[in-house]
Symmetry: C4
Subunit: 209 residues, 4 copies
């Protein structure tokens, strides 16, 4: 088995997701918790072409408050770093967060209100849900869907409020309406597995409309 670093692994996923049209234009951001210093994580720099991302196109950020720890000259953290920061701080065993834009997730319209902030939406009880480690027959699951505030830290705050009020979601992902899914996992491999399952699920939901 070939040995690659976590940033190389994420970089490969970036190219793969771009080829799947999940990271068109400069959409999406990918991150991984630092292996040695778990109070830090690495996230894709802002404005990079995701099909040409390199392992040097990441910046290091503090889990506690999202402040910049380390960045090569000219690199700024993704505009959506605050969302990753909340996820890492709320879930100490999460090692990777992946956010992409998919057509199918944008077709789903739930009308979550701006003041409301978020709402629980039902998921169809199909087999792919076992990829989340949920083995109930015909499980009655929901996913949290958030309003797409322009001010990203407001979304991050709503996510924090959701975790505080409702605990960690049973499914390892959330959706921002008209925007895209964000998934997490203990490792990059697990987060990728979750994202593929989420994409399958959202495709089924969007095409059943």
């Amino acid at each position: 088995m070939e040995l690659i670093t976590p940033l190389q692994e994420i970089t490969r996923l970036s190219h793969l997701y771009y080829s799947r049209q999940w990271m068109f234009a400069t959409a999406g951001n990918l991150s991984t918790r630092d292996e040695v210093i778990p109070t830090q994580f690495w996230i894709t720099a802002s404005g990079k072409h995701k099909g040409e991302l390199q392992e040097t196109d990441f910046v290091c950020v503090a889990v506690s408050d999202g402040s910049l720890v380390k960045a090569a000259e000219g690199l700024k953290p993704s505009a959506e770093t605050s969302i990753h920061q909340v996820l890492y701080s709320q879930m100490p065993d999460v090692g990777s967060c992946l956010h992409v834009h998919t057509i199918d997730s944008n077709l789903l319209e739930f009308g979550v209100g701006k003041e409301e902030g978020f709402r629980e939406i039902s998921l169809p009880p199909i087999e792919i849900i076992k990829a989340f480690g949920i083995w109930d027959e015909k499980p009655n699951l929901t996913m949290p869907v958030f309003y797409n505030h322009t001010h990203v830290p407001t979304i991050a705050n709503e996510i924090k409020r959701y975790f505080t009020e409702n605990g960690i979601p049973k499914v390892p992902f959330l959706l921002i309406e008209g925007h895209g899914p964000t998934v997490w996992g203990k490792t990059i491999k697990e987060a990728n597995k979750h994202l593929e399952a989420v994409h399958f699920l959202l495709q089924v939901m969007a095409r059943r409309l």
Copy 2:
């Protein structure tokens, strides 16, 4: 012509099916009957990434009862081995069984009841059906669709009951609702041909909804 072993051939199909998004997350399982000892078959080990499968990622299982014959350390048979076992034991001339998850098969909802177990569903009489070796004009065919029990051996039992009550299906595949198709063939090549035709057929059915 390049010579490859059956497990190499199946491994290549695994990579191909992954690239077609038929084996996302860890979905699906592929098997082939042992060339020398036909009372045994080889099936993908549980939990493997299907885009990175290697020819060493298979375990050997007995056709008679699905018991483990041989497995490298750390490898467990796929959770759905019992379904393959029933198919090999019911059809002595079958050399390969392929099971994948496709979006289109998940869009089709027939409402097969849990107690009911299975139901025959009509197929559209399109040209691709000739890939199954059926040459009738506008054939009036059905496929068996099974309830997706969480306890996989229960599905396997229902499939066995179906074969006992109805004989071998005219078409070389069955569908588990909300889950995916399972196809078979005399050889890996024939099973692959059947799977491509089944995918074509289910796409047409799902998009005509």
Copy 3:
């Protein structure tokens, strides 16, 4: 520019079309008129995997009556050779015929009757039609759609009857219902251009349903 033979060119198209899922299972057949002896054409042999086709997988057939001129041992002409034969004999300047199975062409249901044999179906007046060399603004075009007789020579006869009664279609293709489009062109390159345009057109028609 690299020099390749016509059979190499067709073989490459076969691989490309397979990767586009236009030649799944063993679907479709491709042919080209012999460069030296225009009363003969070369067509894909029956039952070949189109993603693995080789330039030796063609047989040579007479334009006059579809009889076999030359074939390597074990190779039989495609079951649909009679359709190609009619097209080459009706259109002396045609150098290549391409027939594939696409999902979109199978979604379109026109209900052409068995006795009726064929019917003219309207095409939407979109820009891609200029690929057929038709430059009218909002052209009012039709394509001939044929009943999918199991006995392929009966389809071939109906196509011959169509050409006799109606002349050469204005668009360089026909459709067999529930089966797929057949296109033609002066050269392989032109036939390929026509097929890409036909696929575009049929996708628009199928998705507007």
Copy 4:
């Protein structure tokens, strides 16, 4: 970082767009303003297979009136050069214009009248719009949609009339009905980013129909 010329960069995009089925048959045309002489631009020659385009398949045209400045023997400018000419002359800071044919843009039917010439059409306020540099929450945007005159210079004139009457559109693209989108950007990279975002947007619009 590898150094490539603008024509090499555009040639690569041509191959990429062909593989995405945005430039099927001979559809579409791509151009870039000359780096040294900004009163000239380079555009794909007419009738080229976009999957096999080479960096020598471009001709040089004057921004002022679209007259031919330079062309290798046998090359003619794309039939739609006049549209590019209007865009470069109306927007001095635009460095690249990209026009492709997509299925989704052809599914959208707005019924813009021939005499009317163009109409403003609303866009859904989804996240991908930020790729255009527009950061309003739920922006109330429109795109200009033009009637597809067969006489291309008439479309070009309508575009010029639009720019004169309405100014530069807020979004960096326009749509010709039944034909396809044309995007622009300061650089080839920016134009490509805009095109990917436009494709995302039009897919969402077409699939929400």
